[in-house]
Amino acid sequence: MKKFWILIKYEWLNFRADKGLLILVTLTLLAGLYGIYYGTTEVERQRQNLAGLQKLTEHNVEEMKAKYPAGADAGDIGYYHSTFAVHHPDSWAALALGQRDVNPYYIKLRLLNLQSQLYDTENINPQKVLAGNFDLSFVLVYLFPLLIIGLCFNILSVEKEQGTLPLLLSQPISLPLIVGAKLTFRMLVVLSLGLLLSIIAMLWGNVVPDGRVALWLGVVVLYCLFWFAVAFLVAGLQKNSAFNAVTLLGVWLLLTIVVPALLNVYVSIKQPVPQALALTIKQREVVHGGWDKPKEETMEKFFALYPQWQDTAQIKERFVWRWYYAFHHLGDVAVADLASQYKQSLLNRHELVQRLNVLSVPVNVQGIFNALAGTDLPSYVQFLQSATRYHDALRAFYYPFLFRQITFHHADFEQEPKHHFASSPDVASATAGVVKLFISVLVVFGAGLLLYRWKVASVK
């Protein structure tokens, strides 16, 4: 054990004297800090934008009050007044932004047909979202393996290439001890860097300190161990440094880029989402067809769904708001199947990815991070569902005014339902991911150990 620590001490001396390694570690540290900065500013910006929506709503209400000083027909309010369904980020979102930049995080809603409003997008620069987020999860998932590869690709081969191995092995120490000490030293460096960055990010991002702290840190450790296991395995082949570097980078490329890209192709073919265009076309057809249908027919259909308004006054006018909102709602009802299929297809896609992520540890780990931060597709679908419920609540709020023909007073704005939705972590799927990750680490380490047992150490 003492010799182990001697080796570690001299690894440290060697490491300290090697400018290349120092630069590598410093660069990773800086990249990590930038990632944390980027993630937190991005989430802060989204928070500010969400807070800004509050003001927009208030402004809109003021405008309504000015426009209808003596109270209004609720139909006019429903048409001209808008509120927002908002998707607040979880406090962890700053660590893994996931799909939060692609999917809208608020929806502007009026009392009109929901399906024509639900999928409106936010102003996004497609070139930026194509490049992706430089957040902490990117640094951990993409760059940490590269750091590990940079530190470990010549872990054993350098001793041979610089000729120190014979002298080292002529001392009473074994080869596994040497490799073990060198790996341990590098693990100490990488893990402390990874954990340090994670903790900085948690403090900086002001996250809710729950069980996820342990999960996140555990995943960081396991993921780094996975890459160390890969490096350990490749070092066991006892090839030269160039071979190791190419092999390790090849594995990195395969797991973080090629396999995910192929999975993506497979998923989009296996689980297509054809409903979107059909839904958007059909919804328009039904809603606008509503103008031309006999009013009794429309109202009958509507009353079948909402019998509580059945006894309200029969419509004789050419235009009346409650009829207008009725056929708008029937537009939603007509595409309800498509809409739920659409959401289901999205979730199925996500499920399929969850099942396939055993093929690529980085995909799995990114998935875990996003699940912990609540920033992946399921959060978005939950938000869509929450927004749908909010729209239902809005309708329920306005219907009495419309059907009982009650004047909408200024004070009634206070009673209007407000929406709040914050994404929640998907701890269950994160835990499932951790189990898979753990198994991956064991498998690769096991393979490495077998290789060392099977292959005799050669000095040259």
Partner: protein, 473 residues
Amino acid sequence: MVRSIAQKEFLSTLRDKRFVVLSVLVLLLLLAATVVGLYSAHTLQQERMVAQEEVNHQFHNSQDRHPHRMAHYGSFAFRPKSSLSFLDFGLDSFTGASVFMEAHRQNSANFSQAQQSSSLIRFGEMTVAFVLQMLLPLLIVFLCFGAFTQEKETGTLKILLSQGVSLRRIAWAKIKGYSKTVALVVTPALLLAAGLLFGQNGFDLHPDTVWRLLLFLSFYLVYFFIFIVLSVIISALHRRSSTALVTLLGIWILFCVIIPKAAANLGNTLYTTPTKAQMDADVHEEVAKGIDGHNAQDARAGGLKKELLRKYGVDSLSQLPVNVDGIIMAAGEEQSTRVYREHFDKLTNTFQQQNLISELAAFLNPYLAVRHLSMGMAGSDFSHYLHFQEEAEEYRYKLAQGLNHLQATRLTYKDKTTRLSSDTWKEFKPFSYETPPVQWALSHHVFSLAALFLWLVLVCTVGFRLIDKTQIV
């Protein structure tokens, strides 16, 4: 001499089993990406074409309606995939596929592929461009890292030089040999891609598509050449193969992984994108100060009415030979569109400022240069997306104004019930989108073009001067 060295490099590479295996893998990926790209582009194109035909049909056969009702019924623009986009999806997966076009409102382009995917899509997509941009440079690095170091390690460099060949000529010869090898890997896939592309159109070549394809290929050839020369230079500057390799791999990581992402993120941090909600509110506010097509109480509408009364010398609006409703609506549409346009331009400007960082970063990184040019040629870049949005907005405006004109001329004042016959709608030309010509596409990538050629010139001049400084002993 140069030929024999080039030939030696070419042959010894082909005899290197590891390299052959890697090349075959890259070639297979390239072929797979071609087929997969074509398949998915075809599927999306089909989906959108069917949808576009359906909405066009619906519009033309729509029942008798009041023109303003028709203006709200509106139409859809589905963005067709450009014919080369199967080579490089570019931004296509991150941009909306459908825009709903109606009166008074400019809607967002909705339903991008990325919104319908889990975060898996952020790992990148398997396209020809991806293989050419990321994987081939890596293959080149692997091919060339030992160009000089190996000769140094085995001592053959001294022998070569003692035969009276200059370092530069050795370098050129090696570059020639490697270029031949790379061509051998790339050509089959590109021939297949071109064959499939032209085959599906029954070999009915559109000259613009041919130009785009040719330029697409030439940009990549220049890019590969830059990487080959760069690798040979780095190899010349190192004493040991392993350090040359590690340096080159570091450069690759910086070029292909870190800089692109950092540049885009930096742009996003530097220039704040306004939210759509805020933008819509601002547009609404500015329009309200002017005219509101739905609100006859508005002061400017009043002014317009007075002016019309004076012009035709009548006392009441109902006596006017034209329908004032339609005219007010048209004026309102014009006003709101102008205001929206201003805000949209401001937004686009912000995006372009953000993207400028990446474009300038191309001077540091040939990967970014070729990436932009590749998307430009494939018709999947930002400017093509913008072009589509503008075309859709243009169509929307014309449609709305056409319908307002119908209301002004065929309907009477305050008439909200008259319906125009279904045949009227057939007079409106459906939305159709044409990809702009190749010159247009190129003109949006001046920086990237300049950067790519600057790189080419730099590696060929400064690079070779560095090779002269190679330490032989």
